[in-house]
Amino acid sequence: MSEKEDKPKKKNRREFLQELGYVGVGAVLGGSAIFAGINYDKRKKQIDRIKVLTAENQLMEIDRNLASQVPKSKAEILTYNQKEGREGIPGKRWVMVIDLSKCKNAQKCMGACQGAHHLRPEQSHIKTLKMQESVNTQPYYMPKPCQHCDNPPCVAVCPVDATYKRPDGIVLIDNERCIGCRFCVAACPYSARYLNWTKPLHDEEDKDKVYNVELNVPQKKGTITKCLFSADRLREGKLPYCVSACPNGVFYFGDENEDAVTNGTTNETVRFRKLLADNGGYQLMPELGTKPRVYYLPPKGKEYPFQDKDRNETEEQVNNS
């Protein structure tokens, strides 16, 4: 029994020492843990806590993990797009130069345009027109986009400010506001504006997309659609769809402020004013006072003679579509 009684005594002593050791180690560990904890908390305060503004306009601080981004509603994205679409790209003055001597009526520009803007086969913001001034002059092909006039008759007549001139020179259309009166169609001397007379081509597929005013997609029934100088591509720092699609080096596109335009096929960048000066650049119907931002280089020394069969083929394609 005594042994039995003794044992716990011994154990007790050992235990005491042991426990003392535990406490010591524990205290050190605990202390350092607390220290680390406080330090950690301090750092956490700096990194993982963020300031948020509540709907009641109070500045609060919360744990980053607790915060989640409120998804933007479609209406908010649309409002943002429309705002951005009206402001344009700061510091730029876009210009296009079309070299008529190079156009071989490949119509790749038309195809790229139709694809990008979800247009019907009979619609295209750019058209390669067969031009002939008089009986004795040679016919030639003339790609004709919107001229993005600096004095645009379409913008003047719009009753609701749906079509507007941006500081960077582009004439845009907001088809969320357009009432479809077609006064702009009547006013445009370049026939550069088109209405969605019926259901747009990708009406079903585009149903849930938020309207991008710089691409004019989704197209909307009963509203105007027109060339936008591919404002969405310019925002990404790329050349317009038609310019990049041309296989024959017809299009130059760039910034008047920088006095530089880039050829869409060769990617060669040249001086804008020098290009015009060297090649007799001109504008379409400048006598109307519209001040176009699209310039043409005359069809001198054409690489490709005009062929009537091209025309007939394309006409048939359109009529059968």
Binding site: M110, P159, V160, I179, G180, A186, P189, L195, V318
Partner: protein
């Protein structure tokens, strides 16, 4: 007591037509049923888009806009007859003033609807107010047409007040609530000196006000075209050209209305041959003025034959629109004006026939002004289906164009069933006083 007092006779004559009868119900049934068919056509346009019409990207303004111009034009007659002739102190036109005002109001009201039928997005009509831009002639047009409607309505209503009182007193066969409405609308008119004075002054003021507004509505309508740089529209005389043309179609409309009111409502004693004779002369006058503007409009560019003007002129004179152009000019303007120079032609029936020609011609004249210009823009029309190149109205489009005409007929028919179409009070005042002096109704002044 054998002789009925003159004013009583006038009153009973002029109020006789205010009652429901079978022929009116049949007429309204016909108009209503036709209107429903046309409204269905408009429904398909709402559902499928403007593509149901023949208009496309090049000729993008077609029958609807022609119709709009025609409606605005015809509504101008209210200003000519009740304001200009009234202010000039012309006595003979007094019985016609209300007919002219009814036509003016009906056509102006419906013109607003016509323009909506041409919109790609009629659901966004309010954008014109929310985002309206003062630079756009459309906003000017909406503003002045609205003002014109308001003034025309007042010019119809104010001179009607004494008559409404008479209706309230004398129309014993209409239901009680009907008479109550007349009473309410007559604004407790008793014909006191003060009331008569206020009425005369306000009518005079409105008659003066309506002249610039009426000139404005059609001038601005013409600017929808003249403010573009298209060959055929790019003209500085479009304002007066449209206004004078408006008087032609409006006069014809009034003559047609006069004829039917006269025969249907037995108003031979009030709308006399003298009135037809005078209206005939008026029509000759306005036609000659309009002819003068036509001469300027076509002869001057026709002489110079500038490139694009030449295409336009050739299309009209000898091209695809030649038949329509010469028909409107000859059958709708020159020949009617010539025929009306003869006294024999200024009788009711010949004038009805002539006026129908003038009115139909006036409609097609608007079409000739609106459509051909768009078929030859500055740049060639290429790489589009054939339907884009030549404008051919579709059946749906024609029905939607007819709808406003039916609506105007409905408005005119209904109005002339509820109010006396000849000013009763004025007729009593103007009637030659008989020696017995039996013109002693309380309202006579």
């Amino acid at each position: 007591m054998a002789k009925v007092s003159k004013s009583d006779k006038i009153t009973s004559d002029l109020l006789r037509h205010i009652r429901l009868n079978k022929s009116f119900i049949i007429w309204m049934g016909f108009l209503g049923a036709s209107l429903l068919v046309c409204l269905y056509a408009y429904f398909t346009q709402l559902r499928d888009g403007l593509g149901v019409a023949g208009i496309r990207d090049y000729v993008s303004w077609g029958m609807y806009i022609s119709n709009f111009v025609f409606f605005v034009a015809t509504s101008l007659i209210g200003m000519l007859i009740s304001a200009i002739l009234g202010l000039l102190g012309t006595k003979w036109s007094a019985p016609l003033a209300r007919i002219a005002e009814i036509i003016a109001l009906a056509f102006a009201l419906v013109a607003g609807l016509v323009i909506v039928s041409d919109m790609g997005r009629p659901d966004r009509l309010l954008n014109v107010i929310i985002h309206g831009r003062v630079q756009s002639p459309i906003v000017w047009d909406i503003t002045v047409v609205t003002i014109y409607i308001v003034i025309s309505a007042l010019l119809l209503y104010l001179p009607l007040i004494p008559d409404l009182k008479i209706c309230n007193e004398k129309l014993t066969n209409v239901p009680k609530f009907g008479r109550k409405i007349y009473e309410l609308l007559s604004l407790s008119w008793v014909g006191s000196e003060k009331q008569v004075d206020i009425l005369k002054k306000s009518v005079r003021l409105l008659s003066i006000l309506i002249i610039p507004v009426a000139l404005a509505i059609h001038t601005v309508t013409s600017w929808l075209f003249a403010n573009t740089s298209r060959a055929g529209w790019d003209s500085t005389i479009f304002g007066p050209y449209f206004v004078t043309g408006a008087f032609v179609s409006g006069s014809a409309a009034v003559i047609i209305a006069m004829y039917f009111y006269r025969s249907n409502y037995k108003l031979q004693d009030y709308i006399t041959e003298m009135h037809f004779d005078r209206m005939g002369k008026l029509l000759v006058l306005v036609s000659l003025v309009y002819l003068y503007f036509n001469l300027n409009e076509y002869m001057v560019p026709g002489y110079k034959m500038k490139k694009f003007e030449a295409i336009h002129i050739n299309e009209l004179f000898t091209g695809t629109h030649a038949i329509l152009f010469w028909s409107t000019q000859l059958l709708g303007l020159v020949i009617p004006a010539f025929l009306l120079l003869f006294k024999k032609m200024r009788k009711p029936l010949p004038m009805l026939v002539i006026s129908i020609f003038v009115l139909v011609g006036a409609w097609f004249k608007r079409y000739i002004i609106v459509v051909p210009t768009q078929e030859h823009p500055y740049l060639p029309i290429q790489l589009v289906p054939n339907i884009f190149k030549h404008y051919t109205p579709t059946l749906t489009e024609i029905l939607i164009t007819i709808a406003p005409m039916l609506l105007v007929l409905i408005i005119i028919s209904v109005l002339s069933k509820v109010i006396p179409i000849i000013p009763v009070q004025e007729m009593i005042e103007e009637a030659p006083k008989s020696p017995e002096g039996d013109l002693k109704t309380n309202s006579v002044k």
